[in-house]
């Protein structure tokens, strides 16, 4: 029998995987020691990362999503429940506009990111990397299938790594 020596003892096992970068991004960028007299290379991208791409999920979109989920709830006390298609029958068009608006906002943020990054003239692989922010966020915010166990441990971007 081969004995595998693993360095992942109880304590080391929870060393953050690469995937958790998203959840400590602000610490790497905003905390840690600085030596004032050294120019901290002004980094195109930091501001963008911070203003974050997370904003892409516009509030309106969030509100509408909540409302939708809320309306879908089937509380037994409620006897006159309507289905979602019925509910949106009247406001469907408006909702559509709202969503389109949010999408447009997301696109324009993406555009800004692209411009800023493009200005640095980096390689395309990296650029794609940096643009992953918005879609990831959207995915997380929209998914309702997270399990309780995964919440504290995994981040939004675990899969990718």
């Amino acid at each position: 029998m081969t004995t595998t020596t693993t360095t992942y003892t109880g304590e080391v096992a929870c060393v953050p995987r690469a995937g958790t970068l998203y959840d400590c991004l602000e610490l790497i960028l905003d905390r840690g020691m600085v030596i004032d007299v050294f120019i901290r290379v002004s980094l195109v991208g930091i501001e963008i990362l911070k203003i974050d791409i997370r904003i892409c999920v516009a509030s309106v979109d969030t509100y509408l999503r909540f409302a939708e989920a809320c309306n879908r709830l089937d509380l037994e006390t409620d006897t006159r429940s309507k289905t979602v298609p019925e509910l949106f029958g009247g406001g469907g068009m408006a909702t559509g506009i709202g969503k389109a608006g949010a999408k447009k906002a997301a696109r324009s943020v993406g555009g800004r990111v692209k411009e800023a990054i493009g200005a640095g003239g980096g390689d395309s692989e990296e650029d794609r990397d940096e643009e992953e922010g918005p879609s990831r966020t959207t995915t997380r915010r929209r998914s309702g299938t997270r399990t309780a166990g995964s919440r504290t441990r995994t981040s939004r971007r675990t899969r990718e790594d």
Binding site: E11, T62, Y63, A67, A94, G122
Partner: protein, 247 residues
């Protein structure tokens, strides 16, 4: 060549700190790290890359280098992106602050940073609708007269109520596992989080800390989502201390 672009600084360690092998530094291509001695300390550096941006890959290289360094003893992590013009100026700076850095290394010791973010529990709408009269009322309205405006008002009320519930639950939760930490530092505000707090925890207590957080998260599932990241380099515990009272 290296002097033209300067040196990228990862962190400050005690002299004689064992450096990790084979770990690549920040920047495209190969960037090996080296220790630059500065009195009783060393700065861990690599040649600065030609262009430096907050790329995912480079942020990770910075982070992983610090994690690898941590296995050899306490490390003062630099913020991402610190570049010194050359080694002699770096040595001068580090030496000037030698006693402060030494005290910081002492303070960190064998501790790590554990970061907890608290977010509204978005999946738990049902208890919210049951318990919050305003949300309940707006929901009724939206059902009677469905439309964009009504949905917007409902959604806004839900978002606000989720935030309130999460904030209250997070405050209680932090009191539960906070005492396991030796120090606590509030983190930068993060979009979507109601709390962002870092804890300085002895390495030997990280498993216990994690268990406590997870247990707490499970109990408060319908109010707050607690996300734990760590062990991390002690980013939040190396800033110069504000003058202690009486000093």
């Amino acid at each position: 060549m290296a002097t033209q672009l300067g040196v990228y600084v990862y962190g400050i360690v005690r002299a004689g700190h064992r450096l990790p092998f084979g770990q690549n530094g920040v920047g495209p291509g190969t960037h090996r790290i080296r220790a630059v001695p500065a009195g009783s300390l060393s700065a861990v550096v690599s040649d600065a890359p030609e262009s430096l941006r907050a790329r995912r890959r480079d942020l990770m290289a910075h982070q992983e280098m610090l994690l690898a360094l941590s296995s050899g003893g306490p490390v003062i992590p630099m913020r991402f992106g610190v570049v010194a013009p050359d080694e002699s100026q770096l040595v001068a700076q580090v030496t000037r602050e030698e006693s402060r850095h030494t005290a910081t290394l002492e303070r960190i010791g064998d501790r790590v940073e554990m970061n907890v973010k608290a977010l509204p529990a978005e999946d738990a709408l049902e208890p919210l609708v049951r318990e919050d009269p305003q949300v309940r009322r707006l929901r009724e309205e939206a059902r009677r007269r469905p439309g964009y405006e009504a949905n917007l008002r409902l959604g806004e009320a839900v978002a606000a109520a989720l935030g309130r519930r999460a904030t209250a639950a997070a405050a209680r939760a932090l009191e539960e596992f906070g005492p396991l930490a030796d120090e606590v530092a509030p983190g930068p505000e993060v979009e979507g989080c109601v709390r962002n707090v870092s804890f300085l925890v002895p390495q030997s207590r990280t498993a216990l800390f994690r268990d406590r957080v997870e247990e707490c998260a499970a109990r408060n599932r319908d109010r707050v989502e607690l996300r734990l990241t760590g062990p991390l380099p002690c980013y939040s515990f190396v800033a110069p201390l504000t003058a202690p009272a009486g000093a």
